[in-house]
Amino acid sequence: MNKLKSNFRLIAAALPVALLSTGALAADETIAVFTKNQTNPYFQTVRVGAEVAAKSMGAKVVHYIPTKPDSIPEQLSQIEDVIVKKPSAIVFVPVDYKAMVPGVEQINDAKIPVVNVTDRSAGGKFLAFVGADDYSLGLETGRYLLKEMGGKGNVVILEGVKGSLTNIDRVRGFNDAIKENKDVKLLASQPANYQRLQGLQVMENLMQSHPQIDGVLAANDAMAIGAIEALDGANRKAKVIGINGTKEAIDAIKAGKLLASGDYNGFVQGCIGTMVAIRSLRNEAIVNEVVLKPTVVNASNYQPYDVPLEARTCPSWADAAAMATKAPTKTN
């Protein structure tokens, strides 16, 4: 009992300080952040970005993540939960850009402001869209590899999950980069479903039928690193690129094993998405669309990525607004 009382006193003493440091509005702003799964490190970067942004602006974040990765019914039922709990705003990554439209409409009907992050929803009303462009990510990362190869040689593509939006655009970007180089030959384009083990096995198989592979374009980092293991195991060398800029990829770049990784900027997406949501609640100017420019992380520029996620800082609002593809607007 005594302990409880002293705890209470502590909290009571700390409360005014907290209020002072975060501003009076902070007390009841809760941002519900929806992401696709707990397994892909990318979404962890989005979540941490959202947390860092919310913390710096004095708001709270609650995460909604399907326990079964990318489960449509689960995300739909989480939306229903959230409509009952009424958070101040929602930052939303749809598990499926088409199938979640009815869910978004439910959020719209409940009049909860919502920001769309990462995968552009096919419908529904959003304050803003914040994402990266998979096509230019594939194109730029592919171009970097081919330039490092001197514009000639044999390459293979490791595709992600057939039919997923990210995969279609990334592979299209890869292919267009290859078409720009007449002396580059595409030996095979095979699916490894974004899986590390399949990346390894498919690469092992491709090495059997192709004695000379100079470059590997993998649609995500896990497959790229699987492919590197396969190359190492066979004592063969090839330049490999991945996409996502994960911690593991940065380590592999530092070790000289991975040439580069196209950064999808999940952290910044989480930051800006959350900043837009909170700013709209405070009737401050927001932007309607931010499509981040691709960054190709390589041995010369990995340093800013080589810090723990929690220690990174969000871009300032001025920088974020400068990235906007449409003119800033004022909310009502």
Binding site: P41, Q44, T67, P191, Q201, S209
Partner: protein, 324 residues
């Protein structure tokens, strides 16, 4: 049913020849696949590629061989993939924390085995249907693993440890030796020991098995423990091969493992199947992927091709066995 009769009463010679006949039909599909691929591409029938296929099949085989025993009893273990995920992450943590691959390996095996024993207790003692018990376990394990890993990966292990997955001895990959070892041990255990025969008997007719004095509960716990332990083995080889652990590594392996057992001639009703059959099943699934990659089959067609070949292989086996 009939097999259980053979098991308890048949003379050794007849037993062997019938087994051999069935094995031949099971190998037929794999053989046809090999012939077709040899004709289609020069890259297939090379020593390198054969070793490559065997090494790739080994991971699936580890998982499927333990599962075979469970399916022989008429049960199912849906938690093997999730088991690999958690066991690999725990083993990776221990290796990172202590720097000792031996401790890490022990952790992975112990974790796999402990999960298996929990499954066995639920099935044998609480009488929960194995599908539900292990399906529940799958979610429990995913929940724990995803929470524990929080989307992170653990990577970079000592070269000595990596040797288990990526090393060679006399030009043959270490996982292939492990696979042959478990193939022989599993076959001897299932076909030539009293416990193995009791497992067949339980699957063929649990009531008769109980009445004839077989300690059914203990044998059930044993097979789930084996299945879990083999998932532990798979998790260690996986870590050593991939040099990295993440929460969902086993996710994509559960169904192929079950498929390998069934393609290998086992029945979901229990009492029928063999570890060698499962080996052939794992080989067929691996050959399909290998062949599609070698021939560079268009990505859009690959799932269709896989499905057709799996159905065809099982149909061939059934027709063959009816004729005999």
């Amino acid at each position: 049913m009939s097999l259980a009769g053979d098991v308890s009463a048949g003379t050794p010679r007849i037993h062997l020849s019938k087994d051999m006949q069935q094995l031949l039909y099971r190998l037929l599909a794999a053989g046809l696949l090999c012939v077709a691929l040899s004709v289609a591409t020069d890259a297939f029938f090379t020593a390198n590629n054969i070793l490559n296929v065997l090494r790739q099949a080994s991971l699936l085989f580890f998982l499927a061989s333990g599962l075979t025993l469970v399916i022989l009893t008429g049960g199912l273990d849906l938690s093997v993939g999730a088991n690999i995920g958690l066991s690999a992450c725990l083993a990776a943590t221990v290796i990172k924390a202590t720097g000792s691959p031996a401790l890490g390996t022990l952790t992975g095996l112990a974790s796999g085995c402990a999960i298996g024993i929990c499954n066995g207790l639920m099935v044998a003692k609480l009488r929960i249907p194995s599908f539900i018990a292990t399906y529940g376990m799958l979610w429990v394990l995913h929940g724990v693993t995803y929470y524990y890993m929080a989307g992170e990966t653990i990577h970079g292990f000592p070269p000595g440890f990596r040797h288990i997955g990526s090393g060679y001895f006399l030009g043959i990959p270490i996982p292939v030796y492990l696979m042959i070892g478990f193939l022989i041990a599993g076959t001897v255990f299932a076909q030539r020991t009293v416990w193995g025969q009791q497992i067949y008997a339980i699957g063929a007719n649990p009531m008769a098995a109980r009445l004839s004095g077989i300690p059914v509960d203990r044998r059930l716990i044993l097979v789930y423990a084996f299945s879990g332990a083999m998932a532990g083995v798979a998790s260690i080889v996986f870590l050593a091969r991939l040099n990295s652990a993440e929460g969902d590594i086993g996710e994509a392996m559960t169904l192929p493992a079950i498929a390998a057992v069934l393609i290998g001639g086992a029945s979901l009703f229990g009492g029928v199947g063999s570890v060698f059959g499962t080996f052939v099943g794992a080989l067929i699934l691996t050959l399909v992927l290998n062949g599609m990659n070698l021939l560079a089959v268009n990505a859009s067609w690959q799932p269709l091709v896989t499905g057709v070949i799996v159905i065809f292989a099982v149909w061939l086996d059934m027709v063959g066995r009816k004729r005999s």
